[in-house]
Structures are given as structure tokens and as C-alpha cells.
């Protein structure tokens, strides 16, 4: 009981081969698109890599890049095979390669699906990574003279300016870190010394924010110092306070930004996966149809094509047996009662003898 059995005439087989050749070339283009998407994603993540604490997020673009290159290669070969398959003579060259090729393409297609699903599942990992990364970036904001951290200030400032955000969850995060380096604090001033002493860890904490938190939408010049003390500034009412600084936290903003990119990329990869599955099904039908033609002996006759020769359960069972026997023939067995290697060799010889007369 074959799965998905379809009968093909000679003309239909040739048409199928032509169509598959074209589809394989379109798949090569799809592979290049996949490669481009992976590259784009990698560049986007690398732009703000400094504020992400772990680099596992780079797995998704790396998988897409590899899959894109593999798609180009596999579909290029597939196009060549399909072009030759219309003719039964040329098909004999490829006969032995077809089955491994189909299995390989099946695994490749599953990897593409895995890549697409990874794009969608990355959100929670990204949130954790951004939370820790931004917290560290704010802590090391002042360390512009420490090698390895000297560009964190610039990165964080540019991030806040470009994405219209301030701090990790909000602007108050800046009140909890010392973001002014000791090099620029006048230690002889009593105000500074008092502030340092009043803090348990000896940090210089102020209720101020860096200039990059300033909102360009505010109608009044930016108020960066003494933000929580509204009486320190003239007419600093509720509305002025709302518009003065960026309200959103950078973690949420970056998360939304990357989630939307990943979702669009994931959607395109899913569509490419469906297309590859379609091409794989077509190649399988062509392979089985051509093999059946060879078995029947008459190149002009009708033949059947299918996805699986027997039902799913039977195929799984027989494959499992093959794997078991494969395992057994590698065993060095001292038990003389078991005669399986000799028996399978005897079975193979008659089947080859049967095939050769059919081909001629």
C-alpha cells in the first residue's frame, strides 16, 4: 500500500523533470536569499553586541548562513539531476546517487525548519541577555580608560539617542550607578566628599542622567541634574517632566526591535522551507517514477510514483530492521549458529541478477 501513489505517463514525467529543473534554480535563488538574511541578522546583532551578555544569539544567523550556502549547492546539484532525469539512459548515471541525495535534502530541509523555529523562540533568551548586558554597560559607563570597556560609554549613548530610550527599565536606573568617573570628581570639594561618605559602598550617586537620555521632543531645554527634585527648576511641572527625558527603558526597546526583525526573518525562512519541501516531494516522485520505468523495461510506458513504497508503519519497521542488521554485521560474533552475513550476501546476488536483464 504505497503512500501518495500517482501514475505518470512519459510526457508527464518529462514535464515533471522540466518543472523540477526550474524549481531547483528558483531554490538556488531562495538559498541566496537565506544566506543574505543570515548575513543581515548577523550584522544587526553585532551592531549592539556590546549590550548583550551572552553570544548564543548568534547561533540563529550562523545556521541561516550555513543553510543558505547548503541550499545553493544542493539545489544546483538537484537541477542538474532533474535535467538528466527526463531521459531513462541518463537517469542510470544518477540512479545510485538519487536515494542518498533525497535523504540528504530531507535532513537539510529539517535544519531549515529548525532555523526558522529558532528565530521565533529566541525572545526569552534575548530578554535575559539584554537585562544583564545593559546592567553591566551602565556599571562600566564611567570606565572610559579601562581597556576593553573604553567604548561602552559611546555605545550606550548612541543606543539611547538612536532608540529613544533611557536606562535598563527606565531613567531611574541611572540614579543607582555611579556613571561619573572618579577622575572627573573634585575630591577636595566638601559636597563631593559628603556625597561619597553618605553612600555605603562609597559610590558617587546623583539623581542625574547622561545627556543621551534627553528627549528631542521636549519644548524646554533638557533638565539632566536634580531630576527628582521638581522645585530645583522653575516651572518643572508634571507635563514638563513627562516630556523631558525618554520614558522607555532600553531593554524593552531593543527586545521589540529584535523580535520584529526575527519574526519577519522567521516568516521568510518558513516560506522557503515550504518551497524546499515541495521541491523535495517532486524529486522523490520523479525518482520513484523513473525507477519503476526501468523496472518495467519499457521507457515509453506509464509508471507509478510515490512518496513511500509501503505504508509509514511498514517503512519504519523495515528501516529499523536494516539498522539492526547493520549493527549485527559489524559485530565479531563467535556464535556459529548465526549465519546472517552469508544469507544476506546470497540474497543480494539474485536481486542484482534480476535487475540486469530488466534494464537490457
Amino acid at each position: 500500500m504505497a503512500v501518495g501513489k500517482v501514475t505518470f505517463t512519459k510526457a508527464e514525467r518529462e514535464k515533471l523533470a522540466e518543472v523540477l529543473w526550474l524549481l531547483n534554480w528558483i531554490s538556488v535563488v531562495a538559498g541566496m536569499i537565506l544566506f543574505g538574511l543570515g548575513l543581515f541578522l548577523k550584522i544587526e546583532i553585532q551592531k549592539w553586541q556590546e549590550v548583550m551578555s551572552d553570544q548564543e544569539i548568534l547561533y540563529a544567523p550562523h545556521i541561516l548562513i550555513t543553510m543558505g550556502l547548503a541550499a545553493c549547492g544542493i539545489n544546483f546539484l538537484g537541477g542538474k539531476i532533474c535535467l538528466d532525469c527526463a531521459d531513462t539512459n541518463k537517469f542510470l548515471h544518477w540512479k545510485l546517487v538519487m536515494m542518498p541525495y533525497i535523504i540528504c535534502t530531507f535532513f537539510f530541509t529539517s535544519c531549515v525548519l529548525a532555523g526558522a523555529l529558532m528565530c521565533y523562540s529566541i525572545r526569552s533568551q534575548l530578554e535575559e541577555s539584554l537585562f544583564l548586558g545593559l546592567r553591566n554597560a551602565m556599571r562600566y559607563y564611567k570606565d572610559t580608560d579601562t581597556p576593553g570597556r573604553c567604548y561602552l560609554k559611546r555605545t550606550l549613548d548612541l543606543l539611547q539617542i538612536q532608540f529613544h530610550c533611557c536606562g535598563n527599565t527606565g531613567y531611574r536606573d541611572w540614579f543607582q550607578v555611579q556613571w561619573i568617573s572618579d577622575r572627573y570628581l573634585d575630591m577636595t570639594s566638601s559636597a563631593v566628599v559628603d556625597r561619597l561618605r553618605s553612600n555605603v559602598q562609597g559610590k558617587y550617586l546623583v539623581d542625574s542622567v547622561p545627556f543621551s537620555c534627553c528627549s528631542t521632543l521636549s519644548p524646554r531645554p533638557c533638565i539632566q541634574q536634580q531630576i527628582s527634585n521638581s522645585s530645583a527648576h522653575f516651572s518643572f511641572d508634571q507635563q514638563s517632566q513627562q516630556l523631558n527625558l525618554w520614558k522607555r527603558g532600553c531593554r524593552q526597546t531593543l527586545l521589540d526591535h529584535y523580535t520584529s526583525i526575527m519574526q519577519s526573518v522567521g516568516l521568510i525562512v518558513l516560506l522557503i522551507w515550504l518551497f524546499e519541501l515541495l521541491v523535495l516531494t517532486g524529486v522523490r516522485y520523479l525518482q520513484t517514477a523513473m525507477e519503476n520505468v526501468l523496472r518495467l523495461g519499457d521507457p515509453d510506458s506509464e509508471s507509478d510514483g510515490w512518496i513511500l513504497e509501503n505504508s509509514l508503519a511498514e517503512t519504519a519497521h523495515s528501516n529499523f530492521n536494516i539498522i539492526k542488521n547493520l549493527g549485527k554485521c559489524y559485530q565479531v560474533d563467535d556464535d556459529l549458529n548465526i549465519n546472517i552475513p552469508a544469507a544476506t550476501a546470497q540474497q543480494e546476488v539474485p536481486s542484482q541478477q534480476n535487475q540486469i536483464p530488466a534494464a537490457s
Binding site: 572610559t144 580608560d145 573604553c150 560609554k153 559611546r154 549613548d157 548612541l158 539617542i161 556613571w179 561619573i180 568617573s181 577622575r183 572627573y184 570628581l185 573634585d186 570639594s189 547622561p210 545627556f211 543621551s212 534627553c214 528631542t216 521632543l217 519644548p219 524646554r220 531645554p221 533638557c222 539632566q224 522653575f234 516651572s235
Partner: protein, 344 residues
């Protein structure tokens, strides 16, 4: 004695026709490119029109859009002629129009030359408009409650952040205007009153700049206020501190941006002129080669093609003579008309 004659046989003619057809289609693509560059330039000018007092001249982008469309049309027609010319029946349809078409191409090349020159020369106008616009922009920075000017602050802040610049010539321009609105000044405060009174025009001037002048690449938190007072900040010297705020003026920054854009567009238009001249020369060779076929019935015969029927000097003198004749004829017609008017 024809100018630059070339002998043609059938394969050479076919090659010329095919090559010319591809060249015409390439010219169509270049025409589309000029059209899109014109639109891009127009959008860029509109984006920053607030910095130019909404006073900028859109002559160059409009001209580019027109030239792009004309180039597409003219070159498509040329391509069609080339496509048909190897078929004698179709070619006889186009033959009478060719002279007119070549004159049109000549005129179009002159217009392209004018456009390229304008691209280069209008940069001065852009410079002057920027200078005036930025000066007004800085003056009206504080007027966020005046209708018509309420977005000037935002536009100027975004420009300074995007182009990494501060002020018109440099950051000191901010010291000469009051950029904090009176609404946010506590007039009951003595310090504020002193500062306002000490100024002749009653303006509240400070040696401070807005936050958008700050340079994110600075290693210390941005110093915006009391910039000229070294002792107001710890370990600070205005003369040595180059990374604190942007040192470049916005006029220079915006001008170099627009100038590079206009220079590249001008270079592309010059290249298009050369392409058009090549097209015209090819079409002239092809049409003369087809017209001078010794035996019109036999497509394999030889023929001669040239750029000008007589030498350059002779063609020029002929042209002048023709223009003189044309001038005389119109004068004669006018005299004749005057005479008839007098006699009646």
C-alpha cells in the same frame, strides 16, 4: 569628402545595429537612474527645508526629473528604430524622422550640459541659503510655543545630533542668542535679573550650549554649561577639550553633505552626455550605412557610413549660410507684408 567614413558589410551592419540597440537600452536605464536621483535629491532638500528657512530652490531636482523622463523617452524611441532598421520595410517608415530625431538628440544633449553646469553652480545658492536658514533657526530655537516655529527646536536638535555639528559657524553661535525661553526663566531670581539687565537688548545670554551639541565619544560626561569658565569644572580646559562637544559648524556639515551629492549627480549627468553623443554617432553611422547601400534589393551588399556628409568646416559654413537665408527670407516676407500694407 565625408567626415570619418567607415565601410560596412552585412555582418558589420548587423553588429552595429545590435550593439546600438543595447546601448540605447542602457541609456534608458541611466535615464531612470537620473530620474530617481532627482526625486532623491528633492526629498533630501524637503527633509531639511526647516534648516533653510523653507526657502531652498528646487530648480536642480525638478530639472533632473524632467531630464530623466526625456532621456527615457528619447532613448526608447532610438532603441525601437535600431530594432527595426535591419528590416528594409520597417526602416523606410522611420527614415524621414531620423534627421529630426538627431536634431532633437542634439538639443537634449545641450539641455543635459546645462543641467550638469547648474548642478555644480547651484551649490553656492545652497551655501547661502543654509547660512541664512541656520542663523534664523538658532534665533527661533526657544520659540516652541509660537505657531509655525514650534518644531524648530526639535529639527535643530535632530540636525545637530545627525550631522555631528554645533551652531552655525561653531558652538560660539549659541553664546550670542537667547536659546532658553522666558517661560522657563525664574524672573524673581536675582541672578537671572542681573544677567538680563546686563545685556543691552535684555536677552538672557549664557556661555552654554544645548544637549544636542554633546559628543557621545567624549570620555567624560558632557559639559554643556559655563563652557568658557575653566574653573567651574574639575580638570577642564576649553582650549584642549576637543571631544566634549562637536567642534564643526552645522553650515559646513550640511553643505559638505549636499555638495558631495550634487557633485556626484553632476558627474553622472556628464557621463550621460557622453553616452548620448555615442548613441547619436552610432545612429548616424547606421542610418547612413543603410541609406548608401549600392543595391537596395541585395542585403549583403557593401555600404559606407559617415558622421557628416561633408567635412566639419564645410558643414559649418553650410549651416551658417542656411541660417542667413532663413533670416533673409523672414525679412523679405516682412518687407513684402509692409509693402502690401503701405500700398493698401
Amino acid at each position: 569628402m565625408p567626415f570619418m567614413p567607415v565601410k560596412f558589410n552585412l555582418p558589420k551592419r548587423v553588429k552595429l545595429a545590435q550593439g546600438l540597440w543595447m546601448l540605447y537600452w542602457f541609456s534608458v536605464i541611466v535615464g531612470i537612474l537620473i530620474f530617481s536621483l532627482g526625486i532623491f535629491f528633492k526629498i533630501e532638500l524637503r527633509k531639511r527645508s526647516e534648516m533653510m528657512d523653507n526657502n531652498e530652490s528646487h530648480l536642480v531636482p525638478n530639472l533632473l526629473i524632467l531630464m530623466g523622463m526625456l532621456a527615457c523617452g528619447i532613448n526608447t524611441f532610438g532603441g525601437k528604430v535600431c530594432h527595426d532598421c535591419l528590416d528594409p520595410i520597417k526602416f523606410t517608415k522611420w527614415k524621414p524622422m531620423l534627421k529630426m530625431y538627431l536634431l532633437l538628440c542634439c538639443g537634449f544633449s545641450m539641455l543635459l550640459l546645462l543641467t550638469a553646469l547648474l548642478c555644480i553652480l547651484m551649490q553656492f545658492a545652497v551655501y547661502l541659503t543654509l547660512a541664512e536658514g541656520l542663523k534664523n533657526g538658532i534665533k527661533f530655537y526657544k520659540d516652541t510655543d509660537t505657531p509655525g516655529r514650534c518644531f524648530m527646536k526639535r529639527a535643530l536638535d535632530l540636525t545637530q545630533i545627525e550631522f555631528r555639528c554645533c551652531g552655525n559657524n561653531n558652538f560660539r553661535d549659541w553664546f550670542e542668542v537667547q536659546w532658553i525661553s522666558n517661560r522657563y526663566l525664574d524672573m524673581s531670581n536675582d541672578e537671572v535679573k542681573d544677567r538680563v539687565l546686563s545685556n543691552v537688548e535684555g536677552k538672557y545670554l549664557m556661555d552654554s550650549v544645548p544637549f544636542s551639541c554633546c559628543n557621545p565619544g567624549s570620555s567624560r560626561p558632557c559639559i554643556q554649561h559655563h563652557l568658557t569658565n575653566n574653573s567651574a569644572h574639575y580638570d577642564y580646559d576649553l582650549r584642549t577639550e576637543e571631544l566634549n562637544i562637536w567642534m564643526r559648524g552645522c553650515r559646513e556639515a550640511l553643505f559638505s553633505y549636499y555638495s558631495s551629492m550634487m557633485n556626484s549627480i553632476g558627474a553622472l549627468v556628464f557621463a550621460t552626455i557622453i553616452l548620448e553623443l555615442a548613441d547619436m554617432a552610432g545612429l548616424k553611422y547606421l542610418s547612413t550605412a543603410l541609406e548608401t547601400m549600392v543595391d537596395p534589393e541585395n542585403p549583403e551588399c557593401e555600404s559606407k557610413g559617415w558622421l557628416l556628409e561633408k567635412g566639419i568646416k564645410e558643414t559649418f559654413t553650410e549651416l551658417l549660410a542656411k541660417l542667413k537665408m532663413l533670416g533673409k527670407k523672414t525679412n523679405q516676407v516682412e518687407e513684402g507684408r509692409d509693402a502690401t500694407v503701405d500700398t493698401t
